[in-house]
């Protein structure tokens, strides 16, 4: 009786170990696009969800986030031209706590400035993943909504939100800087209300986003998640 119990326990333990190993394997990213000798340089851990704080703490954090929006200085399309007047004296975005930062590590707002070509999409994905959460995405111009005038182009994507989560869209071709400021004010309001959980959405639907991205980007020679 005792022996069979021990056997049973041992079998269960081995099975559990096996299951855990399998789970750990599943949790790892394949990084198929990388060459074998390069794999060691990159992280293969899946990104994990970070829950917001609760109650007044999160409200306070969200207030601070909404008052200090740092844009990634990466003009992805022709819409980036509308960002320049925002910085200078006519529109002066600094009044609203908006600044430009040159590195994705420090910025929290990514403005997709119009059409995104396939080549740019790869850089958009890399930059978006390198930004530290919580991070917000503004889709500027009609091209980000449905492709706009490029909707049947062979080399641009139509809907940016199939590849990264978007918080606010600003329609128009081109939207004026006032419209962009309006978009920022809407974004601030949404952040304060706790509605901008794009990063957690990206992580929850990670496989879906990755499948979409890989469908478009054929020369995928980067890790599956850019830490």
């Amino acid at each position: 009786m005792k022996e069979s119990n021990m056997d049973g326990l041992q079998t269960t333990a081995t099975e559990t170990e096996q299951q855990l190993e399998d789970m750990a394997k599943e949790m790892r990213l394949a990084n198929d696009g990388l060459m074998e000798q390069d794999k060691g340089y990159f992280c293969d851990v899946r990104p994990h969800r970070v829950e917001p704080y609760k109650g007044i703490m999160e409200s306070f954090a969200n207030w601070a986030r909404s008052q200090s929006l740092w844009i990634l200085g990466f003009g992805t399309g022709c819409g980036a031209i509308e960002l320049r007047p925002l910085m200078t004296s006519r529109f002066d975005m600094y009044r609203y706590g908006i600044q430009a930062r040159p590195t994705p590590r420090q910025s929290c707002v990514f403005i997709i400035g119009g059409y995104a070509s396939v080549k740019t999409l790869k850089r958009i994905v890399r930059s978006y993943e390198q930004m530290q959460g919580p991070k917000f995405v503004l889709g500027l111009g009609s091209c980000t909504v449905n492709g706009g005038m490029y909707w049947d182009s062979y080399n641009t994507i139509n809907r940016i939100d199939q590849y990264i989560p978007v918080d606010v869209y600003i329609a128009g071709c081109m939207p004026r800087p006032e419209a962009l400021l309006g978009g920022f004010i809407k974004l601030k309001q949404m952040i304060r209300e706790g509605k901008c959980e794009g990063m957690n959405k990206y992580i929850d639907d990670f496989d879906w986003y990755k499948a979409n991205q890989k469908q478009i980007i054929h020369d995928w020679n980067m890790p599956d998640y850019n830490w």
Binding site: R65, Q67, S89, T103
Partner: protein, 303 residues
């Protein structure tokens, strides 16, 4: 024991005041720059919100132990610089840990933070970080020359290496300030201060556009929050040091605020008026006329 506790409390109060003063001063000067450019500018309290935001970030990437320690060294450099300078002459609370050889220690601490940052930034593996660090250290080595000469001139003038004694010797009227008793040392020192505050024309170290922001390129989330806090403390410490060395120090907080504000305003005026030097140009600049002025100041003292 009681004395130590009292001193600890005074230190905390002093640090609290200089941190807040540094942050508000940073916010105010951003507004001054905005006015020069015809803008309204960010709110004065924006630096507080930025630090809060960075510390509330949910994720952060680290690259190893030195990456953690880099901002810590930088903060230690800022704290070290401030804590050995008497902020207000004759005040118990703001005299900090000033002692007889503090001037040398402070000059070392000004360098220390940048060296710590170099180690941290190096481990991040980002090619732009060492690039920014090497530019920063090269420029720092260059502006240290006129600054050190100026300090040597003042030290030989008053026969002391204690900042408190240098301030004490300048009391009793505006004409007793080093700015008037030893104008060459003041000029050399104030030119090197432009390099130390890294505004234009010496801003290529943190060049915000060409190399993405130099040493702190990979620093994010709370690492960056710590660096921003340190920037406020370090700025305050440098302003107080230059006020003590050249402009007679301060006998109360009000005088300190006015003098340091004006010294900072001087760097902002230069910053807003001039284009930028390349690193080699700024090195040549510091080793040229400012160094000669410094040598002249020392020679005149020795005669």
């Amino acid at each position: 024991m009681n004395e130590i506790m009292t001193k600890a409390w005074y230190t905390l109060i002093s640090l609290f005041v200089i941190t807040n003063y540094g942050l508000l001063l940073g916010g105010t000067m951003a507004r001054v720059r905005a006015k020069v450019q015809g803008r309204i500018g960010q709110p004065v309290w924006q630096p507080y919100i930025d630090i809060l935001k960075n510390n509330f970030k949910r994720t952060g990437i680290y690259h190893g132990v030195m990456f953690y320690l880099g901002p810590v060294f930088r903060l230690a450099g800022g704290l070290g610089t401030y804590l050995f300078i008497p902020a207000v002459y004759g005040s118990l609370v703001f005299s900090n840990f000033s002692f007889s050889g503090d001037l040398l220690l402070v000059m070392y601490f000004i360098f220390f933070g940048q060296l710590g940052m170099a180690l941290g930034a190096g481990q991040s593996g980002h090619p732009y970080s060492p690039l920014g660090v090497s530019r920063g250290l090269a420029q720092m080595t260059a502006f240290e020359v006129p600054f050190a000469l100026s300090v040597i001139a003042i030290a030989s003038q008053y026969q002391t290496l204690s900042i408190t004694e240098i301030v004490a010797a300048q009391q009793g009227g505006i004409l007793n300030w080093v700015a008037f008793t030893n104008p060459l040392a003041m000029v050399a020192g104030m030119i090197s201060f432009l390099g130390m505050s890294m505004g234009n024309p010496f801003s290529v170290v943190i060049a915000p556009q060409e190399i993405p922001i130099g040493p702190p390129t990979e620093m994010q989330s709370s690492f960056l929050g710590m660096l921003q806090t340190n920037r406020a403390i370090f700025n305050g410490a440098k302003l107080v040091l230059f006020m003590n060395l050249y402009f007679g120090g301060a006998t109360n907080i009000g005088v300190m605020v006015i003098k340091t504000f004006l010294i900072y305003l001087y760097t902002v005026i230069v910053d807003a008026s001039f284009p930028r030097f390349r690193t080699d140009q700024s090195i040549r600049f510091f080793l040229g006329i400012p160094a000669l002025i410094g040598i002249a100041a020392v020679v005149l003292q020795m005669l």
